[in-house]
């Protein structure tokens, strides 16, 4: 797909995602039934897990495309890794803000060393390193390689980090969706959660493609500037 094509699809998905976000908010405030024991704060649930899953998905794409970049050395793979990593940071930040807000009411504390919260925080910092490395090299090509190495090492060690933080302590609500004996959620809550997840993913893909386009245009501009100078 040409850069223009990516931009068109990206714009379309981002607009659909933003409109969908409006619908999700409306549904979670006015349509879905209130959860019996937690009451109104439970509604943040339609933002928090979808943001977390989208962030994990985005970081996964970033690690995958980073590995492929080191292997194939196609600039476009690096643009994809950078765009996915930025998306992951955005959705990871949303997860990290909504989690403690809910935790303050439900658990009585903003922060706990709950495994999945800790894991996301660490992932967030691994990718902070990804961006810092990238921006502090003299030679941009070197920065691309360095940041790809950071993403790959992070991806390789994530199972260990996950294992260790789970081992350390667990207080998070048990899974209510992905369970061997089927989801535990009432129908309308599950519908809204899945709708929200779809919306978040569409929004991420839209932003991802727009960000990718920006990198493409930037690279193209550099080539033209060099040609003009020559």
């Amino acid at each position: 797909m040409s850069i223009t094509g990516v931009r068109r699809v990206g714009t379309f998905l981002a607009v659909v995602g933003l409109l969908g976000l409006g619908v999700v908010y409306w549904l979670s405030f006015f349509w879905v039934s209130t959860e019996a024991s937690q009451g109104i704060v439970q509604r943040i649930f339609y933002v928090h897990p979808p943001a977390a899953w989208t962030a994990f998905f985005a970081f996964g794409i970033a690690a995958l495309t980073s590995g492929m970049y080191l292997w194939l050395r196609d600039e476009r793979l690096d643009w994809a890794a950078l765009s996915a990593a930025e998306g992951g940071m955005v959705f990871g930040t949303i997860m990290l803000i909504t989690g403690p807000l809910w935790g303050r009411i439900a658990w009585g504390t903003y922060w706990t060393w709950e495994p999945r919260l800790t894991l996301t925080l660490l992932l967030w910092f691994i990718f902070l390193g990804y961006f810092m490395v990238r921006r502090s090299t003299e030679n941009p090509e070197q920065g691309k390689r360095f940041s790809a190495v950071v993403a790959i090492v992070g991806a390789l060690l994530i199972p260990f980090i996950h294992l260790s933080v789970v081992w350390f302590r667990s207080l998070h609500p048990e899974p209510v969706v992905v369970r061997p004996d089927g989801p535990l959620l009432p129908g309308d809550m599950l519908t809204l959660l899945l709708t929200s997840l779809a919306v978040f993913l569409v929004l991420f893909l839209g932003l991802f493609m727009l960000r990718y386009t920006l990198e493409g245009i930037r690279a193209d501009l550099q080539v033209r500037a060099r040609r003009a100078a020559a």
Binding site: L70, G129, M132, V133, E141, V149, V153, L157, I161, F168
Partner: protein, 222 residues
């Protein structure tokens, strides 16, 4: 294999002759022990209860201090270019660097252990051998990551300042299982209780070493 040995020998000889890094890291270990001792109010917590965690944090900070300079001496007059241009494969260079760093940091870790046992009045615990193994496996995993990222950070403008940001998020398993095992062993618990910890530490070290050996070539090319 022989090339790995040559790099290890070269680095250790260099360290033995200059004693630059060991002197700095050794002094750091003792001074950190002194400061930690004064940071604890013995009427609130027993120093023995927090010693295991402090031992590991001292090793981590001390390790970053010394390992950040892995490529410093050779970088100064471009000697590392010579090492890279030698016929030794890049993964052999990495393993050589990691092993010489391991020898250095393990010696420092033993010193840290000794200092804390002396200052905090610790007993050697149930199994000195398992304690040495836990320290060794933890240090090995740490050294693998720190050596790889020392190469990355010395290529950036920020230099060693970058190293903790890259390494710390990845150290969580090492600290949890390492400090957990050390604490239990020092408290005299049976070795069987920490066998799981030791296995995870070993697996962590293996994956970190393999990742470092595989990815080092992408860090030092050009």
């Amino acid at each position: 294999m022989r090339q790995v040995g040559v790099i290890v020998w070269k680095d250790l000889l260099l360290e033995l002759r200059t004693r630059e890094r060991f002197a700095a890291m050794g002094s750091f270990a003792v001074l950190a022990g002194v400061l930690f001792n004064f940071s604890i109010d013995a009427s609130l917590v027993r120093p023995q209860d927090v010693a295991a965690g402090l031992i590991w944090m001292t090793i981590v900070f001390d390790g970053l201090l010394g390992l950040g300079r892995t490529f410093h001496l050779e970088g100064e007059d471009g000697a590392f270019q010579g090492v890279l241009m030698s016929p030794a494969p890049k993964d052999a260079i990495f393993l050589g660097k990691a092993i010489s760093n391991f020898v250095l940091l393990y010696a420092v870790a033993l010193l840290v252990l000794g200092v804390f046992m002396l200052f905090f009045g610790l007993e050697i615990g149930s199994s000195p051998l398992a304690l040495l193994l836990a320290l060794g496996l933890g240090v090995l995993g740490f050294v693998a990551l720190a050596t790889l990222f020392a190469a990355v950070s010395s290529g950036t403008r920020m230099g060693e300042t970058m190293l903790p940001i890259l390494v710390f998020p990845l150290l969580v398993p090492m600290v949890i299982y390492g400090a957990g095992a050390t604490g239990r062993l020092l408290a005299g618990r049976p070795v069987a209780e920490v066998a799981g910890n030791l296995r995870v530490l070993a697996a962590f070290a293996l994956v970190a070493l393999a990742a470092g050996a595989g990815l080092f070539r992408f860090v030092v090319e050009d």
